[in-house]
Subunit: 354 residues, 2 copies
């Protein structure tokens, strides 16, 4: 049996990287016609055997899609994980692909795990979620020319395939709903810093106010840790404002802050949904069982999972350009925490709360 010619030798002969050869032979890379020809010529010259290529392709094509996520803090639940994984796994399976789930490491650079999986030919592509500004995964995967689709956007100037929830639209729906009930003093409980998702939701809050001719009160925008305690403390501060400045409605950027806000209001004897409207975001399954039940914004996660995989498969099969960018619209779920009675005809009530 002749000594097997390796991919590496082909790469040296063609004057390109190992990865480029691998990707061209696996039809995973878009390279110039010239480079492709140089590689195929090297394959011929060295006698890199077609059977070896076929076998190699089989080895290289894992038919696996890598996915990882940061675990939720112990007091919270990831409200979308179950459905997102089911949806992605189902969409992938119909095309003969499966999800490879890899763990989140708080103790190493984010891209390390991604690099390892690429270098060991474990996956054909990635889905990334919780995308941030200047997300190192985006830069890294683009540099490596490795297929990926994001659930979420990053900096506007970074162009890559994504599916995202239109969080701004969701927040606008909340503002519209509250304005229709007569609210004009609407506070926002935002995250501590401008996360990408946070900024998107903030945009919706601000444009919702603007669309209704309400000027922004900087004192009604509070940044707090996105947890129960953060929501509770921020709401306590809001409820200690002079009556004339106090909000009649509080929009939390996630459900768990809204739950903290409800607790703060209840501790002051307020009836949430009547004396004060409070809304969340995410529609965590349990919020329908709170007292009062929580108005929230539901994200169409099944659709996100299907679309993310569909775009990734198109890229892997080269049936579309890797530029698909999809926004899906969330849904407002109105419940007791904001429904209450309209405050329009009962403005004096506001002045009375403790």
């Amino acid at each position: 049996m002749a000594q097997r010619v390796t991919l590496k030798q082909v790469a040296v002969q063609a004057g390109v990287s190992y990865q480029t050869v691998s990707k061209v032979l696996n039809k995973q890379a878009q390279v110039s016609k010239e480079t492709k020809e140089r590689i195929l010529e090297a394959v011929q010259t060295l006698g890199y055997h077609p059977n070896s290529i076929a076998r190699n392709m089989r080895l290289q094509q894992s038919c696996l899609i890598g996915y990882s996520w940061a675990p939720a803090p112990p007091d919270q639940v990831n409200p979308i994980l179950d459905q997102l994984l089911q949806s992605m796994a189902q969409a992938a399976e119909t095309a003969g692909y499966h999800l490879l789930c890899f763990p989140h490491h708080f103790d190493q650079e984010t891209v390390t795990a991604y690099r390892d999986l690429i270098d060991t030919n474990r996956v054909d592509g990635f889905v990334i979620s919780s995308v941030e500004y200047d997300d190192p995964r985006v830069t890294f995967l683009q540099e490596r020319g490795f297929p990926f689709v994001a659930f979420g956007r990053s900096n506007p100037e970074l162009s890559f395939p994504f599916v995202d929830i239109d969080g701004a639209a969701g927040m606008q729906m909340v503002v519209e709903h509250l304005v229709r009930l007569g609210h004009r003093h609407i506070a926002a409980l935002a995250w501590p810093k401008d996360s990408r998702v946070g900024q998107n939701r903030m945009d919706g809050y601000l444009s919702g106010l603007a669309a209704n001719g309400i000027s922004v009160s900087p004192g009604l925008i509070l940044r707090c840790e996105g947890n129960f305690q953060g929501g509770l403390e921020a709401t306590s501060r809001l409820l200690e404002l002079p009556v004339i400045q106090r909000p009649t409605a509080i929009m939390a950027f996630n459900d768990v802050m809204a739950i903290g806000a409800i607790r703060a209001a209840q501790e002051r004897g307020l009836q949430v949904g009547v004396d004060l409207a409070i809304t969340g975001f995410d529609d965590t399954p349990m919020v329908q069982y709170l007292t009062p039940t929580l108005t929230s914004v539901r994200q169409p996660i099944w659709e996100v999972g299907q679309q993310v995989i569909s775009i990734l498969l198109s890229i892997l099969n080269e049936t579309s350009l890797p530029g698909a960018q999809v926004l899906v619209r969330p849904e407002l779920i109105v419940r007791e925490s904001s429904r209450g009675q309209s405050i329009q005809n009962d403005k004096t009530k506001l002045v009375n709360y403790p």
Copy 2:
């Protein structure tokens, strides 16, 4: 290049199945010494090339562990999914393995997806969870001799490697806690039929009562759909019992039934945790934010994930016999819904509630 001898030819020559050859060569099966020798002889006779075996082993060893789960109903959340996946993925990764997550299909036989993954050499082993009595996956995987570890037990007579939460111990802790507060009329909200997990929890309820010399009142054991509405309706029925038969404490077999129970009690003007104790099971992250906060039983999921993978890896590496069976102890988390005041010195109070 000579025509490559296939595994199939080796199987025919040795008079065994393709799978047996594959497993023996991949050191995944325990077969008789005789069978093993017959296979190795066939390998020699046909000139099945050692290099081919090595390559074949590489192909066959996917270093992937298959895992699937049924999605939670839309009004509920899978309280353990995030942590279980993180834990398993992390434990697997340290040994060069990854999780392959495949979707749950309501419209096909449970074993179909498992069979497909085995037949396509996609995974080296499985973790199965939500194990039921006569679980078809257990029988199927045992028949195929395919490595797996279960999170959960099945029929006592079925012997296979598992890690399970000691649900009975968890329920006993709840009974002890309630008895210490003075309760003797303790109701159980169980699932409609005897699921394996349900029976385990029921065992704990019954033995907890017995250990405290409390005789079982069949009227205090209600079976209901394991959801909010089920818990609400069952509790309504309990609260309509004649005063003398009415429970002073209700143990729900999961959190969401407990939440329904709380709602039913509150609708009757009862102060849960004072007039009536209610407890759950699972310690879903959000239950600490309910009003009142919910007493529940927390499952050490991280430990389960680590142990399940550790046992499976031992089986794959033949470093232990495939008989490991591990029970891990859950933890009682006492919160407002049961803490209240002791009813011991205030028995008259019970007679007064509506």
